[in-house]
């Protein structure tokens, strides 16, 4: 699944049918959530596996970079598939772009911390990265009950 996310993150999927685009981005974002969990689990374990954190950080970074192509017009609820993507993604395109860029920046910073391997710094970097995810989700994703 991780491999799929990375392959997907590297390529362009926007050209496909809207339903496929939605499904592909959902899978990639799930893998991103799983990567985030890996990082948090490792930090909690007391003896974090630096290599696992590095890999997970790369997954997140790739998501942040590739995401620019994941929300073409027509991939909202109008596509007829279940999606939590709010119409604001397109109606407030500038706001979405700001949030996306912030994610790219934070994911890049975090990947650098993971590469450097200073676990205290990695631990401190989790919250800002999480807030970058949350900053976008709060405004542009339908709340999950």
């Amino acid at each position: 699944m991780m491999a799929a996310a990375i392959a997907f993150a590297g390529g362009a999927i926007a050209a496909g049918a809207p339903a496929d685009t939605i499904k592909a981005r959902q899978q990639a974002l799930k893998d991103t959530g799983a990567a985030f969990k890996t990082i948090r689990d490792q930090m909690k374990s007391g003896s974090p596996d630096a290599a696992a954190i590095k890999t997970a950080a790369q997954t997140i970074k790739k998501t942040s970079v590739a995401m620019v192509d994941w929300f073409p017009k027509g991939t909202g609820t109008e596509a007829g598939v279940k999606t939590a993507a709010k119409p604001e993604i397109w109606s407030d395109a500038a706001g979405f772009e700001t949030a996306r860029k912030n994610f790219v920046e934070q994911a890049d910073k975090f990947a650098a911390l993971a590469d450097a391997g200073d676990m205290a710094a990695v631990g401190g970097g989790i919250r800002p990265l999480g807030m970058a995810c949350g900053g976008c989700h709060d405004k542009f994703r339908v709340k999950e009950d």
Binding site: T32, A34, F36, K37, D41, H137
Partner: protein, 214 residues
Amino acid sequence: MQTDSRIRVWDVPTRIVHWSLLGLFAFSWWSAETHQMDYHRYSGYALLGLLLFRLYWGVFGSSTARFAQFIKGPSAIAVYLRGNQTKTIGHNPLGAWSVVVLLGLLIAQVTLGLFTVDVDGLESGPLSNLVSFETGRACAKVHELVFNLLLAMIALHVAAILFYRIVKRDNLVGPMIVGWKTATTSMESAKLASWWRAVVGAMLAVAAVWWITK
């Protein structure tokens, strides 16, 4: 004190547990709805401790708190429903099963919460590191389902209490607050367990919660 009328029904630990479960259930609901996950986790830990204590108290506690005393089979329930049963204090044979279901659902709910992961992998229960992201997400979905079952059971619980109050003229809430009721026929008071047993149970529960959530 009038010796003829007042009888003990519920001991102090059982009453504290009962009302704390209600308060913390409400607090957990509120903290989840408002996404205050730190509060939600602490509330879950407190509930876990209370439930563990209640299980202990169901074996070592006062007579009306003991599972062996109040869990009865279908024939006892049938007798009770026909109204032939001699009056006893504590849970009636039918109400006992609602207690079992409520406690069981609460235990299931708290246990699921320990393993639950949110959709972003950002917030999670203290044991979620033992399961995969997918399993943690599945736990979250069942956590939501069990919450709805709990709401339904609580509604039934309250409806039953109202039925007893209005139709059967029996106030069940009062004894759960003050611990005693006025006896209408000859009924025996609950046999109270000693306070040190409660202290031991509370210490065991706190230690278990600490160990699980550390």
